[in-house]
Symmetry: C2
Subunit: 250 residues, 2 copies
């Protein structure tokens, strides 16, 4: 507890639920997840309460304002986490992906929507059942606290971005954090894949589509990045300078 928590939480369902070989035990992300708090013998407790679900791109997993009955753990794909104003203005709080635990920032109703960007696969846990697991395994609660604390640190960084950074700085910041995230998954170095649209990026960075597009173009003219493949593929040409811009230096 109280340590930097960058390891995502990943859980998968058990044979009891699915009639398949025990996925929790062989989950390749378990070592970096809350599940690492439980030893192999106890893993089935987790697997027993997980329900695997799949969603197509654009599908809604959770609607803002719905009664919060479940927590979710993404095992594959990209989602967006958004809040809306009555007139339709949208703010995206993040792009949770493989390993992210959803539903922590919850009262009795969800304070945000979750929508699939790519085909999405996740494990669903009912609040009540997860509560029971936590009672039996207090280490699990410690990991949840670590996760919440990490989310809070990220959220504070995003507040700084939204409140004080320029469009160019926001985009640089976003590209660098995507780069770091994706490099952790053994993707090619200095390359970022962006499954979300420009509209998603705009709503994440507090900008418009046009400003995002112009900022991309300007970073390209400045030889900091390169664009390919229908705007979804970005190569970082000058990593150090891009990071400096994202951090608000100069």
């Amino acid at each position: 507890m109280f340590i930097d928590q960058t390891r995502p939480i990943v859980i998968e369902r058990s044979p009891a639920n699915a009639g398949m070989p025990d996925p929790c035990a062989k989950c390749d992300a378990r070592g970096q997840s809350v599940c690492s708090a439980m030893d192999a013998a106890d893993l089935s407790r987790l697997a027993d309460i997980a329900v695997v679900q799949s969603y197509d791109p654009g599908a809604t997993v959770v609607e803002e304002g719905d009664l919060a009955a479940y927590f979710y753990n993404i095992t594959a794909g990209y989602a967006r986490l958004c809040k809306l104003l009555p007139d339709g203005r949208r703010q995206i709080m993040g792009f949770p992906t493989r390993g992210h635990f959803l539903g922590l920032a919850v009262t009795t109703t969800y304070g945000f929507s979750v929508e699939a960007i790519t085909p999405l696969r996740l494990c669903r846990f009912s609040r009540a059942k997860l509560r029971a697991v936590i009672n039996d395994f207090p280490q699990f609660e410690s990991r949840l606290l670590e996760t919440a604390v990490h989310e809070l640190v990220v959220a504070q960084g995003q507040m700084l971005l939204l409140g004080r950074k320029t469009a160019r700085e926001r985009l640089a910041s976003f590209l660098m954090s995507e780069l770091v995230t994706q490099e952790a998954c053994a993707c090619p170095r200095n390359h970022v894949h962006l499954p979300m649209t420009r509209a998603d990026i705009a709503d994440y960075l507090g900008l418009t589509i046009e400003t995002v597009s112009r900022s991309f173009s300007r970073l390209k003219t400045d030889r900091l990045i390169d664009l390919h493949g229908g705007a979804a593929e970005v190569t970082i040409l000058d990593r150090r300078r891009l990071a400096a811009i994202g951090d608000g230096e100069t």
Copy 2:
């Protein structure tokens, strides 16, 4: 756990530390705090590790980037929690006050500074000692998780504000949340006291001093609020409409 957590955490020092009558036992905020997780007999464990500190207005309690050795629990006064960019641009993440627990959103170093706005009184806990208390009292960790989750909900609301609301909406939102907070402390109805400067409010709302000042003036011309006493006292004249503006309606 996983319930709406609006109750702040308040702890005070024990006679063991201060040679004074047991403050934890008679702390008037204990019922709404993490301390409510511990019964009267165990309270001394908390009091034993708390060190009371006082700061003058403007003093720095925590410097962004310092090694995070302590947690803090504010017992009286207003503080500001800020992050800086290298060129001096500042974003205030919040105005913690009586009952707020500081230091959750922390890795090995503090990701923010904490500065006193008014005379400030707080209890300091070393991370290591608090860790020991948590080991003995797992309910304490549950309360910390609730607190972190609540902070996260607030942070997400602030991201929506910073990314998508107009200056007028931001100020209305801020005044309403201060009103709600201060009414919980039995202050006069429909009245808000603002101990922070216009610059603090601007850096909290992602605006400039001038825009904040103009937005105040416009809310006043529109008969939604009234200003007195050197700009620090605000009366809310039309609570419903102010709330609607803050929520982005119309």
